[in-house]
Amino acid sequence: MRNNLSRWIYWVVGLVILAIYPQVVGIYYTNVFVGFAIFALYAVTLNLLLGYMGVLSFGHAMFFGVGAYSTALALTHIQGFPLLPALLVGGLAGAMLALILSPLLVRVSGTAFAMLTLAFGQLIFVLALKYREVTGGEDGVGGYPTPSFNIPGVVSIDMTDQINFYYFAVAVIIVCLWVLWFYTKTPFGSLVVGVRDNAMRIDYLGFKLSHTKAVNLIVSGCFAGIAGAIYALFQNLVSTLGVLDIGTSFAPILMAYIGGLGSFFGPIVGSGILHLLEDVTFRITEQIELVNGLVFILVVLYAPMGIVGLLRQAKAKWFHKEKVS
């Protein structure tokens, strides 16, 4: 009961902080936060594969990028395309891509999975770069209208206002994260973890191995697509180098690893740390990638369980007695 109450208090405090955040910190950090939240969702979808299913996706940007491009193209070419369908289009595109690739991807694991996703990621990157008449090549798709949040007869909120967009994006991302959190707690979520730990056993228990993997892939792809769609709405510009390149594939891996693979919230923490770090680094030097690379090496060397893992270790150490009793 007490536990339940404190959980409610956490939720309320968290939401209040999120609500007053843009009023306190100003427009610049509001936008930084939206960027962080988008990548937090994106990194969580990667962790669905890496942490929960035990396969490394080296081309996760394809889901993110395809989602972003679909939303951007839908908004460019269809007059008056509404806001929520724009998000759904992104999610659907990511899911469709995962569905198309799943017959191949479920057959492999380990390094072969990483390489196969890398291959498809590069494939889509190069295609987007070459087919300029659809994707705009390196220049990308930009300048499309941002629709308002419209419930006919009730409310119409202008999404070009950055504060409004902050509330919208954060709300959508929290809902998505909550759905994903719930998803990992379902029996099916446990099944996915079972595939990671001992695939053969899951097979012998009579579950369909390939179907389980495929469904998890599609869920991951779908939400990565939604993250991409929010990104498209947020930036009002989608270009190959921003959403499909290999850096976009590495970023969530770094976030998930820094935060800690073993936990649902690790990637969110990782995204936060990286965005803070990026903000600080930008004041000193232009070389973001150098800092990222060094952080990568240091984390692998000294904190293999990630920040969340470190915290858990510290907690176990300091509150050792309480734990044992």
Binding site: V108, A112, A114, L118, K130, P304
Partner: protein, 290 residues
């Protein structure tokens, strides 16, 4: 020879030259993977690093041959240090950690190079005597590319001799098939790992210097060959030198004719090829394990 045939032959030799370069890079990658289980994503970075070493040596001394001798050794030493002080420490944490470490390394090397040498591409002059054209049977061909093929064959020969005729080669081959067993027989496998890693990066370094006059030296010079080398290793089968050789030559030709006939889709062909092969043979053509 009619012009059309001449063009086909020229493209074939082009493809052969690229395939041989690709093999130099991929062979190191595949031996390292076979022995240590590390897919070294930073491998192509050593290729680039060596290109920059070559540039610096040439601006200092003006001698291409000196650069060809020293620059790969520099890259190899960097490789040795990386293995000794970084990779060995994370070996216990499993393959994922090692893979991610090499990703970090790749980013760091790229940025260090950008900071040290700048981002513009720098020309490297072909050495005297190799910069001309050779004319055989009514077709002309640049000598330098033939030199690339010849040098790669020499390196390949030396490598085959070491691998199949010496004690070290025997140990390496044994370690590729079962490193634990070799270690149990009393051989200092960490030392062997280090030497092989250094040797693999040296090979990438040789390729980097040889490719420098063709590609010019710039931070992205290893992008294509690095990706292609992964395709080679994956498709040829992890740890298989023969597989790497066959697939490297095949990809070289695929690339050359791809650029000739469908320039727009040429970069996609590689990945499409890899995807198809992996879908049906997850272990690659000559691989014995995943």
């Amino acid at each position: 020879m009619s012009p059309t045939t001449a063009m086909y032959v020229a493209q074939a030799i082009h493809g052969l030259a690229y395939g041989m370069l690709l093999f130099l890079v991929a062979s190191g990658l595949t031996i390292i993977f076979g022995m240590m289980g590390i897919l070294n994503l930073a491998h192509a970075s050593f290729f680039m690093l060596s290109g920059y070493f070559c540039y610096t040596i040439i601006t200092l001394t003006g001698d291409f041959w000196l650069a060809l001798l020293i620059a790969p050794v520099g890259a190899g030493i960097c490789g040795l240090l990386v293995e000794r002080f970084l990779l060995r420490k994370v070996h216990v944490q499993g393959h994922l950690a090692e893979l991610l470490l090499t990703v970090g390394l790749m980013l760091v090397i790229l940025e260090v190079v950008k900071a040290g040498w700048g981002t513009e591409s720098m020309m490297i002059k072909m050495p005297n005597g190799l910069d001309g054209l050779i004319s055989v049977a009514n077709m002309t061909y640049p000598v330098y590319r033939l030199f690339v093929i010849g040098l790669s064959l020499v390196v390949l020969g030396i490598m085959a001799l070491i691998l199949y005729k010496t004690r070290l080669g025997m140990i390496v081959r044994a370690a590729v098939s079962d490193a634990d067993m070799v270690s149990a027989l009393g051989i200092n496998t960490p030392l062997v790992f280090m030497v092989v890693f250094g040797f693999g990066t040296w090979l990438a370094g040789v390729a980097g210097v040889v490719a420098a006059p063709l590609l010019t030296v710039f931070p992205g010079m290893a992008d294509q060959i690095g990706m292609d080398a992964f395709v080679v290793v994956v498709v040829g089968g992890f740890g298989s030198l023969i597989g790497a050789f066959v697939v490297a030559l095949f990809l070289g030709e695929l690339n050359a004719y791809g650029i000739q006939f469908i320039p727009r889709l040429a970069p996609v062909l590689m990945f499409a090829f890899m995807a198809i092969v992996l879908a049906f043979k997850p272990m690659g053509f000559f691989g014995e394990r995943e």
